[in-house]
């Protein structure tokens, strides 16, 4: 990762995203290879770069019995920041994250979105050069997620180096300078968003949902339209793509010939999801299930 970069680690559950963050932040040791954080070799001493980093874990690790303000002050004190300075920083961050009114409330009583925002604020209290965020918007309401994305953009613009893990492909696409696709502990592909999307320039795609089994329909349309590519996206849906513009007539006929009825057809802008599926062979169906599972309130 370069300095000032916003780098995304994208992959399904079990890909190794959290483990990577734990290794980089000194909470786990690597089995092999080397670790450098902020120019410091942390391979032998996982805790060597702690002063330079801020960490926002996927589950908040703040203290439920302390107020929001006390939590931030406590976190600041762990970095040796004096009383007056830490109070000022805590007030400023609470203001910035829209939590000023909840400053004197116990953390245990915060909503999930507020908890996540305060956890990010705690990760920033010592003004780290590098911020690690593990699934920062998973499982929280839409408004809070939007606010957090906005905050991350602002931090990035201000020059903070950010490593972000996410299941949300569109979030990674919108926020990150570079993205690594991670599968089973390995980086399958890493590049800038622009470069990743490059092969899709000129690609035309359509999402189609229908009555009937996607497997049967997929076989039929692949036979009928060999010049096009098809991907199953759900139990009764698929995605059609081609390098030239195509009409829906031939597709409709092929599906109806299998006894299916087209319920919806929607042209889509080829996105990072296409690239992810191509590079990792993990279908959007699997990622969607992952998102739904993660988003369930605990």
């Amino acid at each position: 990762m370069g300095s000032g970069e916003l780098f995304g680690l994208l992959g399904p559950n079990g890909a190794g995203k959290t483990t990577t963050i734990r290794i980089l932040t000194g909470l786990s040791r690597c089995d092999s290879g080397s670790v450098r954080v902020a120019g410091i070799d942390c391979t032998g001493n996982p805790r060597a770069a702690l002063r330079h980093i801020g960490v926002v874990p996927d589950e908040s690790n703040l203290y439920p019995e302390l107020t929001g303000f006390e939590n931030l002050c406590f976190c600041a004190s762990l970095y040796g920041i004096g009383r007056k300075e830490r109070r000022e920083r805590a007030h400023s961050l609470l203001e910035r994250f829209g939590l000023a009114e909840a400053a004197r409330r116990r953390f245990a009583g915060y909503s999930k979105g507020m908890k996540r925002k305060l956890t990010i604020a705690a990760g920033l209290i010592h003004r780290p050069e590098i911020l690690f965020l593990d699934e920062p918007t998973t499982g929280i309401d839409v408004t809070s997620a939007r606010e957090i994305r906005q905050l991350l953009s602002e931090l990035h613009s201000a020059g903070t180096t950010i490593l972000l893990t996410t299941h949300y492909i569109e979030e990674a696409e919108r926020l990150c300078d570079r993205i690594a696709f991670m599968v089973s502990g390995r980086i399958a592909k890493v590049d800038t968003v622009r470069n990743l999307l490059e092969p899709l320039q000129g690609l035309h795609a359509m999402d189609i949902s229908f009555s009937g089994d996607a497997g049967t329909v997929l076989a039929a349309v692949t036979r009928a339209l060999p010049e096009m590519a098809f991907t199953r996206t759900g139990p009764s849906s698929l995605r059609a793509s081609a390098s030239a513009p195509f009409g829906i007539g031939a597709l409709l006929r092929a599906i109806e010939a299998e006894g299916g009825e087209v319920l919806e057809a929607r042209r889509i802008r080829p996105s990072l999801e296409e690239v992810f599926v191509r590079e990792t062979s993990i279908g959007p169906e699997a990622m969607k299930r992952e998102k739904e599972r993660q988003a369930k309130p605990s």
Binding site: R22, L50, V55, N61, S77
Partner: protein, 245 residues
């Protein structure tokens, strides 16, 4: 200076969040009183017995005062991931763990003072060697705390920490020479008695109160200090091996 700021902050948070809660304060007051009452009733000799049971009551108060909260302050915090917040701070592990255990040490020493205060109201304590009493109380609290820490970091669940803690504490009361002198214990139990910090602490406290002890005071102080260092070092090793995976 930065380390001191963090140390005091961790200690202050633990004191406010855990140790200075009403249930703990009441436990710290009631427990020594109940033990003292129990022994006095059992002995049947009334108040003249106070001085002879005082070292035992102080030892037990310190032992329970120090070890009762570590399952929460350490094991529970690790379980709910808030301990990771400390592990992510740019502090030596030694400072983090000293800060996390200092609350237990202070609470144990204060618990040990309660029976002394009560005893001072009902009998004369003019013969007590206060310097030795202070040193013995402090080292007993430190060694008991680090014994509790050793258990707290060796397990991953709070109930495990509490269970193992009880398995250590209660037999310790009977093996540390409080009720039965170590020299009167069966030969096969004596080595066990010698490796318990409470044996040396209780003997030092007995010497401080009554002037008589089974072991040399300097040797007992050195052994307690060594046991404390060993237990702390083992605990740190366990944290590095098990918690930084």
């Amino acid at each position: 200076m930065k380390g001191l700021t963090a140390f005091l902050s961790i200690l202050g948070k633990d004191m406010r969040t855990y140790y200075l809660k009403p249930p703990n304060i009441s436990w710290g007051l009631i427990f020594p009183v109940a033990w003292a009452g129990m022994f006095l009733v059992r002995s049947g000799r009334g108040l003249e017995e106070v001085l002879s049971i005082l070292p035992g009551i102080v030892t037990v108060s310190i032992l329970f005062g120090t070890t009762s909260m570590l399952a929460v302050t350490v094991t529970f915090e690790k379980k709910n991931a808030s301990f990771d917040r400390l592990l992510l701070a740019p502090l030596p592990l030694e400072i983090i763990m000293l800060a996390k255990t200092m609350g237990a040490i202070l609470f144990g020493v204060i618990n040990g003072l309660v029976p002394l205060l009560i005893a001072s109201l009902i009998t004369r304590l003019s013969g007590v060697s206060w310097g030795l009493m202070l040193a013995a109380s402090f080292l007993t609290a430190v060694s008991s705390t680090f014994l509790g820490l050793f258990v707290a970091v060796a397990v991953s669940e709070v109930f495990e920490a509490q269970t193992f803690s009880n398995f250590l504490r209660f037999p310790m009361i009977f093996l540390c020479g409080l009720f039965i002198p170590v020299s009167s214990l069966p030969v096969f139990l004596r080595p066990l008695s010698y490796i318990l910090p409470a044996t040396w602490g209780a003997d030092l406290l007995r010497r401080a109160v009554t002037g008589a002890g089974a072991f040399d005071a300097t040797a007992a102080l050195a052994i307690l200090a060594s046991m404390s260092l060993l237990l702390f070092a083992f605990s740190l090793r366990n944290i590095r091996r098990k918690w930084i995976t």
